[in-house]
Symmetry: C2
Subunit: 341 residues, 2 copies
Amino acid sequence: MKKKPLRVLLVGFGNVARKMAAMLTEEREKYPGLADLQLEAVALFTGQHGGRIDPAGLDLERALRQFRDSGKFPAVPLTVMQALQTLDYDVLVELSTLRIAEKGEPAVSHVRAALERGKHAVTANKGPAAFAFRELDRLARRSGVRFLFESAVMDGAPVFSLQRHALNGCRITGFSGILNTTTNFVISRLEMGETMASAVKIAQELGFAEADPFLDLEGWDAAAKTAILANVFLGAGITPLQVERQGINGLTAEITAGTMAADRCWKLICRAELADGKVLARVAPEEIARGHFFAAVNGKSAALRLETDMMGPLWIAQENPGLVDTAAGVLQDLITIATRW
Amino acid sequence: MKKKPLRVLLVGFGNVARKMAAMLTEEREKYPGLADLQLEAVALFTGQHGGRIDPAGLDLERALRQFRDSGKFPAVPLTVMQALQTLDYDVLVELSTLRIAEKGEPAVSHVRAALERGKHAVTANKGPAAFAFRELDRLARRSGVRFLFESAVMDGAPVFSLQRHALNGCRITGFSGILNTTTNFVISRLEMGETMASAVKIAQELGFAEADPFLDLEGWDAAAKTAILANVFLGAGITPLQVERQGINGLTAEITAGTMAADRCWKLICRAELADGKVLARVAPEEIARGHFFAAVNGKSAALRLETDMMGPLWIAQENPGLVDTAAGVLQDLITIATRW
């Protein structure tokens, strides 16, 4: 790795960003694999609560404590866009959350602004790769920099690195997966006889579901992930709006009981395939036979099945990931940049 | 990739080698991902049926046809060791089969001879990495060449590339897996009420098991794979002889019936973990609950669960691989060498 630290401009300081900051500072000795990663944050923006800018490098541990204590930073004299366009940095780390209604904005514009200046961009936000992959990927290649988003699908499970670095010679021809935790959890509660309303409430109480569970239940989160995978693996050039989408709202305790009696279970399945040069992408509840891999994906776990032109289907799955997994995905991308710069 | 072809010395011309030769010649247009891989075989050795040597590069397609027609090649004037020590080549491709009683020989010596001369070594034989990983890995590093064996565990599923290229910053702390097909199949037949003898016979008829199924049933194949994974992932420096090993010979139709009645099933599980700086490695039948990922691993499928210091357990699994998967693993290693040479 380069000795010179990677200068980071951090947008978003929610749970994932704070976990990452903690892993890089106060928790650092727990992770010997991070020993060689030298980062220097030159700016840090929260969504609504100010930020910090220091061209000489922020004290990330102190900033983390400050934010924990007061819940905010001072107001900063630059907007995020101004910072992206004028500050001296090597990598944008975009950790704001997906806004489907805004078609991934403002994260898409943030990433574009960084790439246009020849800066790398790493994001856990699904927006940029779901709504503008083709444009941003081209821009990154033209600028000779990286546009990476390992955490956007299955947290830190190395879905995109696997394809980029470990499937030499193989072409992916299609995929299917269980990629949304909330719906998977809600279905498991329906199977226990609960109503949809009560299942969603429990998911919220346990921190699975957002305050507004609409994005999950209607299949939008799954559709965003499907679009990303279809864009990266199959060259689809689609957005979540072009993914045929059916949520789990139609499911009830009665329906799931009947399915279970037939030794099957419901899962919200994301899938896409290349057919006659066109990519068909779809999110919908499907009945899965007990004994199938998908039937074993429970709790917060996720699984992805890749079809290739050379090998029998390949699975990658993760077991009950947490915040640390998402933060780890961002750190993996930063290490990819630091080591292959 | 380099324009200059990679000059290959091929040892072993069994099913995997012939499938690879076919993929590189008569089947090549089926695999666009292989388009950039330029190989030139300068020598080819069968186990007992002669070989071919041509410093100017063999016609692999013609050699394949010749072997199919006559089942043999002419005798060659060099032994494999003499060829390894005197011919001009870039990569040894070692595709002979594992001999446990000979502690992986002669494949270990073949790989050593190549690495000592500063030639890369790729092998699908479990022997070298199971019996001599530490020595051969050191030798490869010292010589600035690669010692790769993706197909030795889970065929072409990119187990080792995943760790090498896609788990940035993570350390693997332990693993468990179902890695032997024959035992998995035999157990499934015991569950159908068959005797061990009849289950093994069917496995042989279907091409799952070797003529001598001893290596599989006694857990030796699984122990070799466990030793390799423990050596590569956990730095164990062990051989299959140091893996605590229990085969499936003790299982019967009665035992499996009782287990199934309790909604569980038997699987031969490979596992290893780091405990107090020591690696404990073990192969033994374990009772797995229905609904667990492992319970869904049937047919020729295999699965590996990796524990890391950073992320929740990560799974990689493959569904019913065939010869092409094993050959694909060898080709992946060759592409790794060609692209990162």
